[in-house]
Symmetry: C2
Subunit: 292 residues, 2 copies
Amino acid sequence: MISVEEAMRRVLATARPLPAETIPLTQAVGRVLQEPLHADRDFPPFHRVAMDGIALAFENVAAGQTTFPISATQLAGMPPQPLTNAQTAVEIMTGAALPPGTDTVVRYEDLQFHETNGQRVAALQIPPPNAGHNVHHRAADREAGDLLLPSGVKLSPAEIAVAATIGASTLQVARRLRVAVVSTGDELVELTQMPLPHQIRRSNAYMVQAALHEAGAESEAFHFNDDQEALRRGLPPLLDAFDALVLSGGVSKGQADFLPSMLQELGVTQIFHEVQQRPGKPFWFGEKAGAQ
Amino acid sequence: MISVEEAMRRVLATARPLPAETIPLTQAVGRVLQEPLHADRDFPPFHRVAMDGIALAFENVAAGQTTFPISATQLAGMPPQPLTNAQTAVEIMTGAALPPGTDTVVRYEDLQFHETNGQRVAALQIPPPNAGHNVHHRAADREAGDLLLPSGVKLSPAEIAVAATIGASTLQVARRLRVAVVSTGDELVELTQMPLPHQIRRSNAYMVQAALHEAGAESEAFHFNDDQEALRRGLPPLLDAFDALVLSGGVSKGQADFLPSMLQELGVTQIFHEVQQRPGKPFWFGEKAGAQ
C-alpha cells in the first residue's frame, strides 16, 4: 500500500505530451500551447502616448517656455502630426504615436487652455519633470523577435491577449485528452430507469465525466455488467481508441473484482493497486505496454 | 473616485437572476441549478454491504458461534439471498443489499474458509465488535423526500453525481449570461491585418471573451471606430439583445472619449466612472433603465 503522494508521483511519471493540433485563437483559452510565440514588432511598436493632453519638446520647457500654441490635434490611430514649428505642441490622445520633434506629454489635468487671436494655446500649470514624461517608449516592454510565450504554457485570458497582439489568429495546441469512462457493476442501472430495491443508478460515470470536462478532457461513457467475457471483448477496443480509461468498480477483494487481472492479461502493467486513503483504498493504476 | 471594493459592491448590487432553461445532465457541470432536487428514495436505498465478506446474524456471534456455513453467495445487484437457517451466513460483496435475517458483515480479511463434507464454512478470526458492523444502513445519509440540492447552487462534479443518483437526466439551470464585447478605437486593426506603424491589433476583445468563456458566459465581439454616429446607431440593438455590454476604450478624458455621455443618452444610468486602481482608473459602469 502506498501513500497518496507516492501514488500521485507514479501517475504523473506516466504522463506524456499529446500531439498538437491547430485551432482558432477564439477557442484556445484553457488549452496548452505547443509552439513558441515571438514578438513580430517592438512593444509598444511606437513611442506611445500614455495620457490625454499635449505632446511637446522638453527642451523648450527646460528653457522656460510655459505656453504652447496647438499646431495640430492627433487622436489614437492617426499618423503622427508634424509640429508647425519647434515651439508648438500637438494636442494628443492616449494610444497615439508621439509626433516627430516631441518627446514629452503633459496631461490635461496639468494644463489650462485659452485662445489668442483664434489660436488655441495650452499653458502649463504643472510643468513635466523630465523628458519622456507620460510616454511609453517603443520596445520598452519587448523587442521584435523576443520570446513572448514558450511552448507548453497553459493559455489563460492574458496569454490569449498576447497571441492576439501579434496577430496569431490560429494556434498550435495540444489536443484534448480522450478518456473512456467505464462503469462496471451488476447493481447499477441507467439514470432513466427505476431501480429495483437492491439496485442503484450509475452516478459515478457522470461525476467522472464532469470532472474530466472541467479539466479540459473529452470523454465517452461505457457500461459493462460484471461479466468477464463481455469485458474481455469490450476493453481492448477502448484501450486502443482512447488515451486513458477510467474504470469504476471491480478492483477490490470481491468475487466480481477481476479487473486488475484482466487488464494485465490485456497488456496493461500494474503501477499500483492500493492507496493509503479512505474512501478509495482499492485503487488500481496501470500503464498500457507500448503506450507513448 | 471610489475604491475597488466599493466598485465591486456596486456592480454586484445590479446583479439579477437569469431565466431558467432545461439542459441534459451531461452538459450541466459549471452551471447554476434553478430547481431544488429532492431524494427520490432513501440513501442508501437498502442496508448496503460496505465490505466484501460474509453477512450473518450478530446474535449468533454474541452467543459464541465462531464458524458459519455459507448458505448462498450474493454479488452486488442480486436480490437478497435468504439464509437457509439462522446459523448460516451469506458470502456477500460490497454494494449488495443485506439479506433478511442478517445484520452484520465480517470482511474477508477477518475470516478463514475451509470445507466440511463439501460445505464451504467461514471461521471468524476477528469477530465483529457489534451488530451492524460494516453495514451502511438504509437512509443513513438521506431519507426519501429530503432536500439534496437547493436551487441556486453551482453544479460541480459532486452535485452532478447527486443529480444522477436520483435519475435527473435533465436539469433546470440558469441560462448563460450573453455579453457583447465592444472594442472602440481608430488605432485598432483586425488580428489578420498588418498594422501600420501607428496602429496596433485589437487584443482586448479576445482577452475579455476568453475571460467570459472561463466564467461560463457566452459572448460575441463587435468593433466600432471612434465615430459617434456609428456608435449611436450601433449600440441600441446591442443594449436590447444582450444581458451586458463590455466596452473597451473611450471612457477617459480624451476627445474621442464620448462613451459615458452617449450611453447615458441611450438610457444607461451611470453607477460609477473612476476607480482607485492602476491601470484602469477610467472605468465607467452603468445600468440600463428598466433592466430586470
